[in-house]
Symmetry: C2
């Protein structure tokens, strides 16, 4: 039996637009906070039962159309021997950043099952507990975005060191990206084998690149991952945050569906990709600070801009931690109500 979300992502006809929300298992939910009060962020990632538990919460509370596994894009960096800690308030820190070709040699060989096996384990628990109610989504960070974290050692804004490494030693930087692409492909494959019905590659920082550098450093390694991982029945979503300047670059990247941030209209994306490409997105997460009527109006706008093409509704980036749960629930309800296709 098909799932609404998988059908939409594969471009098949569906009775209404499915919806999920990036970071739907997260801090804005009191039920998530309750679990997190008992263990650290990284402990939660590494506890399959608890990770599955928080992944289920938004399915029960919001009625979203999938359960994305709770995890973090940085775990393969830890799996490759880097020292990863999550400092409350400061975000992730890697105390031993990779800043030269020699540093790349410090990364240890990676095996998803051996080094991050708790993630496919969590997917297996989640699939079992869901019993087919909604599909499970797996994910990973894209090679360029992981390289930004590996080089900066923390979340960045300008990525000065990353770009200095990239421009001064392109081959050394490509060696890093190649190692990351191998790891990411292995990790996504392990998630599919554990039962993920769709996977998403998050390229959070690639939109910040000049297009020439996007073509040279971000895209080829994402394409390599897509090529290794993609299966006909498991949709592959490539999400580039800040995608507007790279629309032509992404043509032919091999992804089943493109994730689109909110800074460009879906109508503009369709003007390049046509009416049959599956698109995911793209409501500005800040819309959820607005009152319910405004949220409904903006949902209607996004649906109108998509103009009936294959579509999975989502925010254009992750839900913010101080958003009222009632507003998120209202969003889900609006999408379900406003997107019903008339029969005939």
């Amino acid at each position: 039996m098909g799932h609404l979300l998988i059908d939409a992502a594969l471009g098949r006809p569906v009775p209404r637009t499915p919806i999920w929300i990036m970071r739907q298992a997260g801090r804005y939910l009191p039920e998530y906070q309750a679990v997190r009060s008992q263990l650290s962020f990284l402990e939660l990632c590494k506890s399959p039962d608890r990770a599955a538990e928080v992944s289920l919460q938004p399915v029960d509370i919001l009625g979203v159309d999938d359960a994305i596994i709770f995890s973090d894009i940085l775990i393969p960096l830890e799996g490759m021997g880097m020292n990863l800690v999550f400092d409350e308030g400061k975000g992730p820190l890697l105390s031993d950043p990779i800043r030269s070709r020699a540093d790349v040699g410090r990364l240890t060989p990676y095996d998803a099952i051996r080094d991050n096996g708790y993630l496919p384990d969590a997917i297996r628990v989640l699939v079992r507990e869901l019993g087919g109610r909604v599909p499970v989504i797996g994910f990973a960070g894209a090679p360029y975005t992981l390289a930004c974290y590996a080089v900066e050692g923390k979340t960045g804004k300008q990525f000065a060191r990353t770009k200095a490494f990239m421009l001064s030693d392109p081959e050394g930087f490509r060696a890093l990206l190649g190692r990351l692409a191998d790891a990411v492909a292995d990790l996504l494959t392990a998630q599919i084998e554990a039962g993920a019905s769709m996977v998403q590659l998050f390229d959070t920082w690639a939109g910040d690149l000049a297009p020439e550098q996007f073509r040279a450093f971000a895209l080829p390694f994402a394409v390599e991952v897509i090529r290794k991982v993609r299966r006909p029945d498991v949709p592959f979503v490539y999400f580039v945050n800040g995608v507007a300047g790279k629309l032509h670059e992404l043509q032919g990247c091999g992804a089943t569906m493109l994730g689109i941030d909110w800074r460009i209209g879906l109508d503009e994306v369709r003007s390049v990709y046509g009416p049959t490409m599956p698109l995911q997105g793209n409501l500005d997460p800040c819309t959820l600070y607005a009152p319910p009527e405004a949220i409904e109006e903006q949902v209607a706008r996004v649906l109108a801009e998509n103009a009936g093409g294959p579509h999975v509704f989502n925010l254009g980036h992750g839900v913010l931690p101080d958003i009222p749960v009632a507003h998120v629930k209202h969003l889900v309800d609006c999408v379900k109500r406003l997107s019903v296709r008339g029969d005939s």
Copy 2:
């Protein structure tokens, strides 16, 4: 007699591509730091002689093709009665943010000469001291970007309060934008009357809007400013940071030249605007962390992507405070050397 930069901005033929650099008078220059050690940021803005002095520094040190007046986009907010302070390290703070239609009523009537007269005064000093060597550029923040600061009370990342105000009370938010457009038009006109040969409107945050909201809230008020200020012989530059998703929106905005950030290629911009629209930009500021050969290569790439159309070279955003001065000088030299047009 014409100036190279003004000619290029007006689309006239020039022997080489002119260059200036956003934030060229600023913290990366030891000579600027020496002045700033004697007075605060806002005191410097308000001292016409000293503001003119730091505006001149990059002309002497780097050989750029204009002197942009040293100032700050937030001064009209202070001029309209808001309490503006610059906290070292934290950036600007406005302790009495505008968060409702009632708050908009708190803004006092604005007159550029009375409330920010030190800025046209500084331009007069600068024009006199330059004696025609290079033209003087004036500037202001665009209404939407100023509204972000007025509402958030500080520099933002997500602009949650701004968007909540915008979506919950569009008419109230438009009232704020209208007040800001009037002030900005008045301030730019005063700068032209004091001797500015070109003006730039900085819309630093408008690229973050969904296109529908860009069309509803950012664009019309920028267009109003352009309409009120533009003169045939004084180029008007509209710079939207993160412009890639709004290229079609900007067609017909009335600006003489568009400022382009680095996240989209000038070739892509020209595919919409054609070969005759003057464009300004668009090297990634982080390129200046790279070694000299890489800087030269990237300059050549930007020139090639522009493909010979009317062009003023610039970074795609402001120069960063920890960039080596020698790299900035090298950038200026590369542009001057690589962009010379063959005669014949």
